[in-house]
Symmetry: C2
Subunit: 337 residues, 2 copies
């Protein structure tokens, strides 16, 4: 068996604006002073997957920054963002050509406190995938999160059901039940298993792969893929999807406030903020590598300084950065997005 890795690095990560930009998305940011999320993702799987079988899929806007953080991995560029299913299908196809028969799919912009726990779960998932299942990793939940999809495991690790982003009451019940897991977008499968599943559930995408087999240029066929997620397009319909539970100190680092959870304590207030002075201020999250930040009488804010932008947001409104970006685009200020 030869193991390959498909690292998905095409996302924009707008929730870390203004640090993240079109050409410098979240995955190539060093948010914690320990290296970029992409570089750390590759370092985590290096003990399992040889360089020659590491593939990073990214988009044309950000390829330069991604290449700089991808080490010896091969970086390939999807012609346009069409959600995860086309990127995973094409990535697995490319990984197959690079000699892999089994593929690990990982997002490039997550945080893992305990890499060895992740690798142990991936090894288990590889063993399960060898039996012909599509395998998803399920994170042991730590809060009643409404922003994630949840997985309901059944007998023998089979996935009984995917629960899409649930309302709060449902999320509370799922957490209390102690059975459901978070869907973190990490998958393991044999290349031929995915191909067969695509033929069954996403024949248009399977046909694209067949045309690639026949030598068609990617740009000619890319638009015929199914622009959906692997979850919606395949996993929710497939009859042999299995889940491997994972407890590895995972975070999707989904917003500025989430940064606090993943920062090494020592670097907070140092690497992330040059100097800080607070007078009657509390609960603020500051990211300003080059500046002294002075906070007076303010609470629960996110303050971010970059060379051309200052952001001041209420902590609870950190997810509304998309509205800022939409406004900037509407005003033609795309140099800031």
């Amino acid at each position: 068996m030869t193991l390959g890795a498909v690292i998905l690095a095409g996302g924009r990560g707008t929730r870390f604006w203004p640090l993240s930009r079109r050409a410098r998305p979240k995955q190539v940011l060093d948010l914690t002073g320990e290296g970029t999320l992409l570089a750390r993702t590759l370092a985590r799987i290096a003990p399992m997957v040889a360089d020659a079988q590491q593939l990073v899929v990214t988009g044309p806007d950000m390829v330069e920054a991604v290449r700089a953080e991808a080490g010896n991995a091969r970086v390939v560029v999807e012609p346009s963002g069409r959600n995860t299913l086309p990127a995973i299908a094409w990535g697995a196809w490319e990984a197959g050509r690079m000699g892999a028969d089994t593929v690990i799919v990982l997002p490039s912009d997550h945080h893992v406190a305990n890499p060895e726990a992740l690798r142990a779960a991936l090894r288990e998932a590889v063993a399960v995938a060898a039996g012909g299942a599509l395998v998803t990793l399920g994170i042991m939940p730590t809060r009643a999160e409404t922003g994630f999809g949840w997985i309901e495991p059944g007998e023998g690790g089979k996935v009984r059901r995917f629960v899409e982003k649930p309302p709060q009451a449902v999320a509370d019940a799922l957490l209390a039940g102690g059975v459901h897991l978070w869907n973190a977008g990490m998958f393991v499968f044999r290349v031929e298993t995915l191909r067969a599943a695509l033929e069954k559930h996403c024949p248009r995408t399977a046909a694209v792969l067949a045309r690639l087999d026949a030598g068609a240029p990617l740009a000619d066929v890319w638009g015929q893929t199914d622009a959906t997620s692997l979850d919606y397009g395949v996993l929710e319909h497939h009859d042999d999807v299995r889940v491997v539970a994972l407890d590895c100190g995972w975070s999707d680092v989904g917003s500025w406030p989430a940064l606090e959870e993943v920062l090494p304590t020592a670097s907070w207030g140092a690497g992330v903020c040059k100097e800080i002075v607070e007078v009657d201020a509390s609960g603020n999250l500051v990211y300003a590598a080059e500046k002294l930040v002075a906070l007076v009488g303010v609470h629960d804010l996110v303050v971010v300084d970059t060379p051309d932008v200052v952001l001041v947001a209420r902590r609870e409104d950190a997810q509304r950065l998309r509205e800022v970006l939409a406004t900037l685009d509407a005003r033609g200020l795309t140099r800031y997005t």
Copy 2:
């Protein structure tokens, strides 16, 4: 009669930190895009006072920046800050040596919307001062301000009483009464009138001037002056102090929020902030000449960006910047103060 001007430019103006610093105090800042407060102060009196009789008194920390904004005025440096009385006494003495017999004393860091109204009041004050009075200008009050001293005028323009910074209830009554005026630190007197008043009320300072007459170096005698304000040291005790009322769109520009009152509407959001995007934000005051500022879900804040500092303060706490500066000094971070 030869008129001289003594412009007091020794203050630190900490309330505009981080834009103002030790070496670049408020009076040499261009807060509104129309020129620095000091340059505009000199421009206002230029029609009345010849260059050769314009004197700017400043401190050693800031002399370079002050000189750059002082045009053809003579800049002199007090060895140390000892409140306004020594600066005014010495300034008037120097102005006398420069040929002036009557002196206008003005702060260098205030805003005047209507300079012609100021000059008209100063001309009236010069006429009153010719009769041997110490004259103070009294601003027609526009709010029940507790941060200023108030002046109670009596018959014939004589000052009946100075009311130090009053409690709110008293300030309300003073405003409602329609009689009291604000003390704005603008004075007019004959040089010999002040000298005689000093001999009576501040003999130590008068003796210093006598030693200067005799050729003593300033540094040798400066420490023997009375370290107090002209108001406390002389005006409150003198028997012939007169007030001339003044309505000239005056502001002491005493804090970041006060900036809004004096800004030309057109420059707000342009000269003072390169670009601003607000999402569910209101009542914020932003000063960021080089940056896009994005505000999300925040209200009534002061946000200031400078090359090495970002300040975020609740609008009501803008006067607490001294606490920030004290903290920085205590932490040895004097490069930011």
